[in-house]
Structures are given as C-alpha cells and as structure tokens.
Symmetry: C2
Subunit: 229 residues, 2 copies
Amino acid sequence: MTDHFNVAIDCIIFGFDHLEEKLKLLLIKRDFQPGKGSWSLMTGFLKAEESFDEAADRILAFQTGLSNIYLEQLHAYSGKSPHPNTKSIAVAYYALINIHEHKNLSTKHSAKWFELDTRPKLIFDHDEMVAKAILRLRRRTITRPIGFRLLPKKFTMRQLLRLYEEIWGQNFDRRNFSKKVNTLGIIIKLDEKDRNSSKKGSYLFKFNKEKFIEMEKSGFTFISKKKPA
Amino acid sequence: MTDHFNVAIDCIIFGFDHLEEKLKLLLIKRDFQPGKGSWSLMTGFLKAEESFDEAADRILAFQTGLSNIYLEQLHAYSGKSPHPNTKSIAVAYYALINIHEHKNLSTKHSAKWFELDTRPKLIFDHDEMVAKAILRLRRRTITRPIGFRLLPKKFTMRQLLRLYEEIWGQNFDRRNFSKKVNTLGIIIKLDEKDRNSSKKGSYLFKFNKEKFIEMEKSGFTFISKKKPA
DNA sequence: GCAAAAGTGTTACCCTTACACCCATGA
DNA sequence: TCATGGGTGTAAGGGTAACACTTTTGC
C-alpha cells in the first residue's frame, strides 16, 4: 500500500582545532558507490530496531571510533536518492568534537579535516546540510554554551573567543567578550596558566557544568550577535 | 540489504481565533485503525515520487481542503510505529492558519479545534510533537513576523497582542508592545476602524510584506521575550 | 627597551521596562 | 457622566559597544 524508503543518516562533524584556531569539518572521500571518488559526509543507513539517535551514534562510532559525542538532529531531507533505483530519504545530524583530544580517528575510509571556507563540493544535498548546520550551530552558541564541546577541558579565553569568531565568521571585542562570559559565571578560572600563546601567559579556564545546568532551565543568552555594521 | 520504512507525515495545525482570542489546535478523532477512537494529528504517508514538503501540502489539502498554507518541517521521529508490524518513521510539520478565514474545513473525519490547555491526550508521540511545535512557534515569533499567518488580513493591535500572549502564555505591556511593533515598520495603519471590541473603535492594520522581506535578509528581532519575573 | 598578548576599567548610548495621562464613545 | 478600551508620552535601569590604559615577560 504505502511506499517504503531506506533511511540514510548523514553526519556533519564539526571540530575545533584550538591550536590553529580554526573550525573544521570532517569529510570522507568515498571509496564506494555511489559517488565513488567524491567527498561527502559520513553516512549510514537506519536499521529497523534502532532510533535515529542510536543510528547516528552507531555510524559515528563505526566510522571514527568515537563514542559519547554530542549529536543533534538537524533536518530530514527527501528527494535526492543516493541509489538511483531505490527510494531514499536522509536525516542529517551534526556532531561536535574537539580535534586534538581525538587524534586517532580519521581511520576508516579517507577522512580528512577541512576548514570551512576551503572545503570541497560535496555530493547529493550534503552542501545544503552543512549550510544549515552552520546556522544551527550559531543559534546554539547564543542559547547554550555548546562551544565547550569543541574545546579541550582546559582552555584559554582567547581560544573561546576564537571559537566564537570562527563560528560566526566575524570578530568580537576581546574585552567585552571576556567580561560577558565572566559575568555569566559559566566558566571557572584555574590557577594554571598557558604559556604557548603569549609571553605573559594566560589563565586556563574550565567549564562550569553545574552552573550551566541551572541556567539552562530558565533560558539565557550566552553571547549576543553583533549589530550589522 | 538495508531496512525499509514507511514514512508518516504528521501535521500540527495551529489556528488563531481572533474573535475568541485563543490559539487553537486542529485535531481529528480517528475513525480508522490503528488508534481508532483516539485523538491524533492529521497524518498521511509519504509517496515515492514526492518530497516531504509536497506530501505535507497534499495531506493538509486532502484533509482540510486548504492550499497555500504556511508549513514548516519540525522534526523527524523514529520509534513508535503506528502499525505494529511495519517499520515506520514520522516527519512532523506544523501549519499556521487563520480560523475564521477558513470556516469550511474540518470536514474529513471528525476534526475539531481545541484550545491548547484543554486539548485531549494524543496517540503515539503526537503530544511530544505538539510540545516541540509550540516552542518552535515561540522562537519564530521572535525572528519572523510569523504571527501574521494566523491573523486575518486586517487586524487590530489588540488582536496581534493577544496572539503573542497566547503563543507565549504570558502577558505583555499593551503600550510597549504597540510601540515596538510600530517602530519596526512592519505593519501599516489603515484608515478603517474596528468597532466590535470597543466604543472608541481601534485602527485596523495590515502586514507590510515588502518591509518584512527587506528586514528578513538582515535578520531582526520582532518581539523580545519578557524577563522571567 | 620593546613588542605582543593579557588583564582591568570607564563611558555613552540604545533598548527595554514600568509607569501616567488623555481621548472617544456608547450606555 | 461614567466606564471601557484605545492612543501617546516620559523616565529609570540594564546591557552592550566602543574605547584606553596597565601588566607581564621573552627577545
């Protein structure tokens, strides 16, 4: 009676390289059909007994070896079928990871990190998915301190600032930024200093998870968008 | 090889009754299996040759007779299958319509408008979908003047205010509200007055579509959320 | 000493909020 | 005239944006 479809799960994997201070995207060069030789998102198919979330976890774990990663459903896409003769839909997920804490991934297939503005063209509607994921990521940084998923456990204020600048594609005032973040009470200054980036050395911070959980309930604004010039 | 699923499209249909000043939800009492006798969202199945958006349009048109309705994808749900023996997923859409401009719907099945706080329990995961749709609707009222889809072509400031109060479940200051809306330039005051709601009569407004399109590009804030008391 | 990054402080301005007051009109 | 809803104005407060200045330390 009703038509049946196979359900692809496509994963947009964002990573922040806090040394290069660049937001990156993990893509694979397909060594299988269809679209062999092209770049694409990590992908897999939904199994009958699992939920979307479970499938996204499984696919990400299988392809990168990572578990316990932040994953969020982005959108469901219909239309362009990866296999010409089967009816197919896709559900896109995006994931956030810290690059340097997970160096030994990128194993399966030919996976490679790309900076956003030099990424290759992707197959199917994957470019559309990435564009939507970036917008979602921006929105999330306002409502939630999602950026902490992308940073190492201990980080400097500069790294946090650069992360936000990368996500938004614009610069923020360094002084106002740290003031805002500090008044929110969502990060904790440690006694350690990082001396890699400056001669003076800058304090390391860690994320205040308890404070965040408390604030999340009432809803808050993390960083406001700069006014258009 | 890969498992196959049928794809349900579930429609959350919001309507604003500008006479009763109530936000309502259109639900159907199912006269078919599964879940016969229970209340549920309008639903249908995706066909092989159509997109999600097309399917949502088709299902809404078939069940209500309405076309050209604002529809937006909400979320994709896996798990609870309407038919026990088939693997099924659902993609939820929400629609916005003005109740009194479309009086002759509610025909197919036993459709009925419910106020949000007195709606019946729904089958499957439809309650979860409705909850998410309300949150989405709130967010949209901030970013976009989506509320105008729910009002008649000509409306009073009071009706617009009441609509926002219904969506947010809280009261706004009448004077600040109209000031804010006016400065945005997104509505146009007409020379007509409506005398139904008051003795003095209140001006009718219409939506300034051109201004909106212009503003949409740069991104704007329509109405800000009141601070939690 | 000098350069470079980090830390702290100050001010102006805009937007929101919380109000008060007047107007028009049917009963 | 009075009650009711409608229209307009003003002042205080909070938060952001735009700045300047000092500190630390390797070279």
